[in-house]
């Protein structure tokens, strides 16, 4: 069942404006937070068990506590780059409830003692950008941003920065490079951003949804948040669902919600004439699950890990029986090939190789041992690079091949598609 903690008032008209937001209890978390000790906010967030919603699922409170305990300037960056294929929840949240994110940011900034934050929003998100920009102006006017916020003595400024259309700047250190005005490519770690980030100062990068959840947690308390989900996956998660289902869209459910229920209830089941074949649970970088695996799974960090995949960004991609896995993988490989920043040799060269291999398999221009090569190339791109894009490209390959190898071999042997007879991958040619 849907459990709208964050999305509760999203359908109220005008909720995206300051008045609408305040009408439904907006900015009470900020008022509360400004009366707390910053350390206590961090403890509260730690106790809530909130895990980053950008993909990696790292404990938010823990991340904040890595900041050095000194008076250096530090920055908070909201990651609104949302580039992961299949993911469109941050957009929805920014369009319908920008103040929820902004409030979460001001509270978080207060907690980590940051006087300046940025929302880094992907260039393609023009409408959300306009809405967020307007909301920030409103917040300034209302005294929620700027000097001496609500008489607390706390100063904070917030700006929006628009990306230029690269997936890789969603990776937090690439985002920092881009914000610094450099080519948007990841930085070598260590040092980690919490120690040396934006302008070489301590920096925290958090996802839109993570920061929105901070607002809820401060309003309702860590204990209330922990009531939902499991011990290690607390609270709710917002999913964006696509595929041939009856009700694609954005849904918020408890963590550990059974996928079967999610598919049948929230997603309204498969469209007529389509059978559920496979699931990519958290954006294109997550290993695929077969229908059988998926229907037994629950949507939380631990269960997904036990199945060898990830909850990722919450970009749920539902694959039906009319989809050719070779074609699908080729589309993904085209994406990663196009988006690799090119710094690390295995990723720069490997992503191109993967695309070429999947494309020639799709076109029936391959030999059988190309399947083994594809697998080997992908495996040697894993865990060997500066950022996780290389793994993100490789993981789907390995999982597609281990679970749908027959479709690949069929393409090679029969020179046509097992699913469609004639599929897109072939048609490219």
């Amino acid at each position: 069942m849907e459990n709208r903690l964050l999305l509760k008032h999203y359908n109220e008209p005008g909720y995206h404006t300051l008045d609408g937001y305040v009408k439904f209890g907006g900015y009470t978390a900020l008022k509360k937070a400004l009366k707390m000790k910053p350390e206590d906010i961090i403890t509260e967030v730690k106790n809530s068990g909130l895990r980053g919603r950008g993909g990696a699922g790292f404990s938010t409170g823990m991340k904040w506590s890595f900041l050095p305990n000194n008076n250096e300037p530090r920055y908070l960056l909201c990651n609104a780059d949302e580039g992961e294929p299949g993911t469109f929840k941050d957009r929805y949240m920014m369009e319908l409830a920008p103040h929820q994110v902004i409030e979460g940011m001001i509270c978080s900034a207060f907690a980590i003692k940051s006087k300046k934050s940025y929302i880094y929003i992907r260039g393609e998100y023009y409408k959300p950008y306009k809405i967020v920009e307007k909301a920030i102006q409103e917040a300034y006017k209302a005294g929620f941003l700027g000097k001496n916020i609500l008489g607390s003595g706390f100063d904070h400024d917030l700006d929006v920065y628009r990306g230029a259309g690269a997936y890789i700047v969603g990776e937090e250190t690439a985002l920092i490079s881009s914000l610094e005005g450099k080519k948007g490519q990841p930085k070598l770690k260590p040092p980690f951003p919490a120690v040396q980030g934006y302008l070489r100062k301590p920096t925290i990068v958090n996802n839109v949804e993570t920061l929105a959840a901070v607002t809820w947690i401060l309003n309702n308390g860590a204990a209330a948040y922990r009531k939902f989900g499991t011990e290690k996956s607390t609270g709710t998660k917002v999913y964006s669902v696509s595929g041939n289902i009856n009700k694609p869209g954005v849904y918020e459910v408890d963590l550990a919600y059974p996928f079967k229920d999610f598919l049948e209830n929230e997603c309204g089941g498969m469209k007529e004439g389509f059978k559920f074949k496979a699931l990519i649970p958290g954006g294109s970088s997550c290993p695929v699950l077969t229908a059988e695996e998926a229907l037994k799974s629950t949507l939380d960090y631990e269960n997904m890990a036990s199945l060898g995949t990830m909850l990722g960004s919450g970009g749920v991609i539902i694959i039906d029986d009319k989809q050719c896995m070779v074609d699908l993988l080729n589309v993904l490989m085209h994406f990663y090939h196009h988006e690799s920043c090119g710094q690390c040799t295995p990723c720069r060269e490997g992503t191109g190789w993967l695309e070429k291999l999947t494309s020639s398999i799709g076109k029936g221009k391959s030999q059988l041992d190309d399947v083994a090569t594809l697998d080997k190339v992908a495996r040697h791109m894993m865990g060997t690079t500066i950022c996780a894009l290389s793994d993100a490209a490789a993981l789907p390959v390995v999982s597609f091949l281990s679970k749908f190898k027959d479709e690949f071999e069929y393409h090679i042997r029969e020179k046509r598609c097992k699913v469609k007879g004639n599929c897109h991958a072939q048609a490219h040619h």
Binding site: H338, G342, T384
Partner: protein, 498 residues
């Protein structure tokens, strides 16, 4: 100081040292393309992966600091497989131009393929095409297809020369090294990028297609281009010298040298050299007589000098020296002048006064002589104080019978040479000691061929006072002399007069 073991060998290094450096102290090789000791860490090539126990993933040795008790493996099956694949990723789109590539023979792709590769390639797809033979500036050519995007050259222009000409443009396997628009690679350190390029992507216009590297021999010496005294390696064969590259010396030049220094060998090659004695013979109307055996010429010079000395008159013989010779040579020559010729008229010929003290902030100095300090120290030791100004005051009208000149080896560093030659001519009969020929010397009484800095050994003292040695790496003009040999010959033919 943390203690760790690498491939079973214990080592103790300073905290903060990287694993790759620690391995170097044990002579354990770790493959690498992007890492260079003189540059920041890029961590891009992923060739230097090693296994560190208790770490699930392989780590890059160039960006991993050592830690107490660390156990590192550089050569087990897991590492070998990873390095092989990292290498293969470098090669899948590589054009394999080896037969026409200048780098062949000293290419890290070739070397590592022999060490870590030796597989048959599995890449059966179309390769990425990029531009070839692009001129990046006056001295450097780029082949984008051969470039492995290690970013060493980019980091060099950002961090060392700070001239910012190079960048990597585009993304993924469309990445291309290039210059920024309107910013050709023309800084005075540009050829260092060619040296540090691990492959044949950057080549030197001067060296391109001149020689296969396996036909070259190397020897180590110093650059004589300015008073910094960069340590260099000279590559040569029977056809002459082909290139000069820097050698690491943290006290003097770090890892680098300037482009000007790359040309220091140019004047030493045969075609520019004074390769025989030339004498102006007044009996045949001042025509040049060439080819008198050097020993004979020296004997005659010695005789004329001793006759002049006997005639008396302290004004009769002067010595003018440039700062282009070794300390040992000055000592021999000054010894001769102090004790045998007994002339106090020893003058230091300083060149390009205007920018003599200039410095470009990195290595290159306005003093274009390798041994100014060595010369002034030796003059002081012998009690000689004469400057060119003093000489000029004395030299107005044949005030000397003879003027012995240890002239510049590299004449290009003496922009006002012609003017100075006129003054010398006015001062007396010139006995000109020089490595290179020049029509303008034709009025001198004697021209004696001298060794270049590549053909003799001895000490140069750099601007900081650091004593360094040059080596006799090769013989180019076999009949040429050092100042010691000249001095000894003259001394003997003067009858060892004391």
């Amino acid at each position: 100081m943390p203690k760790l073991t690498i491939d079973g060998k214990p080592v103790e290094v300073a905290a903060g040292t990287s694993v790759i450096k620690a391995a170097q102290t044990l002579n354990i090789p770790i493959a690498h393309y992007c890492w260079h000791e003189g540059l920041s860490v890029a961590g891009a090539c992923r060739m230097c992966m090693v296994e560190i126990e208790k770490n699930p993933k392989l780590q890059i040795a160039c960006n991993t600091p050592v830690a107490e008790g660390m156990v590192v493996h550089t050569n087990n099956d897991k590492v070998k497989d990873a390095v092989k694949w990292a290498l293969d990723f470098h090669l899948i789109n590589h054009p394999l131009d080896c037969p026409i590539c200048d780098q062949a023979g000293e290419c890290k792709l070739q070397d590592y393929y022999m060490n870590y590769g030796l597989y048959s390639p599995e890449m059966n797809q179309r390769k990425v095409k990029k531009s070839k033979a692009m001129s990046l500036g006056d001295r450097v050519v780029l082949d984008q297809e051969r470039c492995i995007l290690c970013s060493r050259c980019v980091r060099f222009t950002t961090e060392v020369s700070k001239t910012h000409e190079l960048g990597i443009f585009n993304r993924g396997d469309r990445c291309e090294l290039s210059t920024f628009e309107g910013r050709p690679l023309n800084n005075n350190y540009s050829l260092n990028t060619v040296d540090i390029c691990p492959v044949g992507a950057l080549t030197s216009k001067d060296f391109r297609f001149k020689q296969r590297v396996w036909f070259l021999k190397d020897f180590e010496t110093l650059c004589n281009g300015c008073s910094t005294g960069c340590n260099v390696t000279v590559s040569y064969n029977q056809n002459g010298v082909f290139r000069v590259r820097p050698r690491v010396n943290q006290e003097v030049n770090g890892f680098w040298m300037c482009d000007e220094g790359r040309d220091i060998y140019k004047h030493t090659n045969k075609e520019f050299r004074l390769d025989q004695v030339i004498e102006r013979n007044d009996q045949v109307g001042g025509a040049a007589v060439k080819g008198k055996p050097v020993a004979l010429a020296i004997q005659e010079i010695g005789k004329s000098l001793s006759a002049t000395v006997k005639k008396g008159g302290l004004e009769s013989i002067a010595l003018v020296v440039t700062a282009q010779y070794t300390v040992e040579e000055y000592e021999a020559l000054f010894e001769l002048f102090k004790n045998t010729v007994k002339s106090p008229h020893v003058y230091y010929w300083k060149n390009n006064e205007e920018d003599f003290d200039s410095f470009d902030g990195l290595l290159n100095r306005g003093d274009k002589n390798p041994n100014t300090k060595g010369l002034s120290d030796t003059m002081t030791k012998f009690g000689f104080k004469g400057t060119w100004e003093d000489f000029e005051k004395q030299a107005t009208s044949k005030s000397f019978q003879y003027v012995v000149v240890a002239g510049p080896e590299d004449q290009s560093a003496y922009p006002d040479l012609e003017k100075k030659l006129e003054i010398l001519n006015k001062a007396g009969e010139v006995i000109w000691l020089s490595s290179c020929k020049n029509e303008k010397f034709k009025n001198f009484k004697w021209q004696i061929p001298m060794k270049s800095f590549l053909e003799k050994e001895g000490t140069f003292v750099n601007f900081k006072g650091i004593k360094q040695n040059i080596k006799a790496g090769m013989s180019i003009i076999p009949t040429s002399l050092s100042l010691q040999e000249f001095s000894k010959g003259v001394f003997e033919s003067m009858g060892g007069m004391a």
